[in-house]
Structures are given as C-alpha cells and as structure tokens.
Amino acid sequence: MKQEELDKRLLEVEGQLIGIERTAANRVYLLCESENVYPICLFLFDTLALRFVISTGVDAEHCFEVLHHFTDDACGCMVTVKAFIRDRESPEIESITPLIAGAEWIEREMHDILGIKFRNHPNLKRLILNDDWPEGVYPLRKEVQR
C-alpha cells in the first residue's frame, strides 16, 4: 500500500501507543508500553500484512526496550514497535512467537544476552551462550563488567 494509506491505517491503533516518531518519510517508530506489544504486532502482521524483519533488545539506563521491526515492501517503509519495559529487576514481556514463528530465535537470543523473559514463548532455552556459562549472568547488561 502507499505511504499515505499506511500512515492513515497506523492511526487506528493510536489508542494503545504513547507516541509515534518519524525520523524519515519511510521510518516510523510506534512507542508503547510492554503490555500492549502483542495486540499492536497482531494488527501490523495480520491486518496490515507487513513482513516481520527482526527484533532488537536495548538496555537503556532506566528501562529495557524491545523493538520489533516490520516492513511494508510495497512502499519501502519500515515500521518499528518500540516497547518499554519499566521493571529493571525482572524484565518481562509478551512473546510474539505464537503469532510469528520466525521470532523464536531472536527472542531466545535476547533472553540469553539481556535476561528479558518472554511469556508464552514455546522454547525459551539457551541459544548462543556456551553450555557452562553461569546462569543469571547477562553479558550485555550495562552493569556487567567482564
């Protein structure tokens, strides 16, 4: 669909967002709290039929951020859902793997490296850390020294 139509359809979920950022004409960030991430991704994937690209996990100083990137190949627009996890002690978020099977491994990687727990993930096992890495040490968190 065209860029203008995409922009108009994105406004349908505005009620669940805390903001919409536009860094370029074809780069949209939908900011939300971690509770609303699943319905928004459901809307983007099922209703708007966008393609899931990859996810990113970020350790911002006072919270965690989980970004899910979607793209509309027809107009070349990248739509990112940026979910804030406010609880730094035990970060938890809904997993989108039941909706998109391709998200399984990237969520496992985020769990390994940042310690974010994904609820309803079918297979939240260790993925890229080696077998005798100690449990509970998350290497890419800001407070972890080498």
Binding site: L129, N130, D131, W133, P139, V144, R146
Partner: protein
C-alpha cells in the same frame, strides 16, 4: 635430522579449523588451496579428517564453545603436528580483546591440552595467501 622430520617437512597435510572466525581468514585459506597458488608442489594437501593431518590451520579468536572442540581436534591429530594460528584473531585476540565470549587466543587453548605444542603465528587481517605460504615454509624450516 632424522628421516621422520625430513619426511614431515616435505609432505604437510593440513586440516582447517574455524574457531569462531568471521570467515575472512577462512576464505583466504580456501583461496590458498586453489590451483592458482599450487601448494601441492610443496607437498601440502588438504585432508578431511584431523587424524590424517600434520598441520592444523586454525582461524578465529577462540570462542568458549569452539575451545572445547579445538582441544578435542588437537587430541585427535596424530603427533608430531604443528598448529598454525592464521590471522590476527588467532594470534592474539584481535579486536575481540576483552569480550565476554572469548576463551583466550588459540595458543593458550592448545597449550592447555599439550604444553609442548608447536605453534606458529601468521598475522594479518586476513593474511594474504602469499603470507600464509611464507609463514608455513618458514615454520617448517625452523622445526
């Protein structure tokens, strides 16, 4: 020099081990074994099993997972054998110094199994095939 060492210098069978490399050094090793550089005239041949090998061409900084496997491969290589550390990551840790997933450079990993291991270093990122040939020839002359 006894006949075993002389024969070893004239016929070096190599086995390539990637211990967490970015594949740049691996591509250069595969380039080295193509007909353009013709290492067969030195007696160098690529073999598919470490038990047949005289030299291990090791690339990569040595991740924790790969360290376990590298020790096993070194044990399976019939002695006498030489370990060639190809590339900056294998010689020291390269740009991965201080990273959480590295178990130390290659010579440290190999010397945990065999403190008397013969290790040769070919630096470069990646080393050119000519540099690799020069390194192998110099190492064999020095044994």
């Amino acid at each position: 020099m006894n006949w075993k060492m002389w024969a070893l210098k004239k016929s070096v069978w190599v086995f390539h081990v990637n211990c967490g490399a970015c594949n740049n050094c691996d591509i250069e090793i595969v380039n080295l074994l193509t007909p353009k550089f013709d290492v067969e005239r030195f007696g160098i041949k690529l073999v598919g099993s470490p038990r047949h090998a005289d030299a291990l061409l090791v690339t990569g900084a040595g991740t924790r997972q790969a360290a376990v496997r590298l020790r096993e491969v070194y044990r399976q290589t019939a002695k006498p054998c030489v370990v060639f550390c190809m590339g900056a990551c294998a010689c020291g840790m390269g740009i991965f110094e201080g990273a959480y997933h590295i178990a130390g450079p290659i010579d440290k990993i190999v010397k945990e199994v065999d403190p008397n291991a013969i290790v040769a270093y070919v630096p470069g990122c990646p080393p050119k095939p000519e540099a690799m040939i020069s390194g192998v020839v110099k190492a064999l002359a020095a044994i």
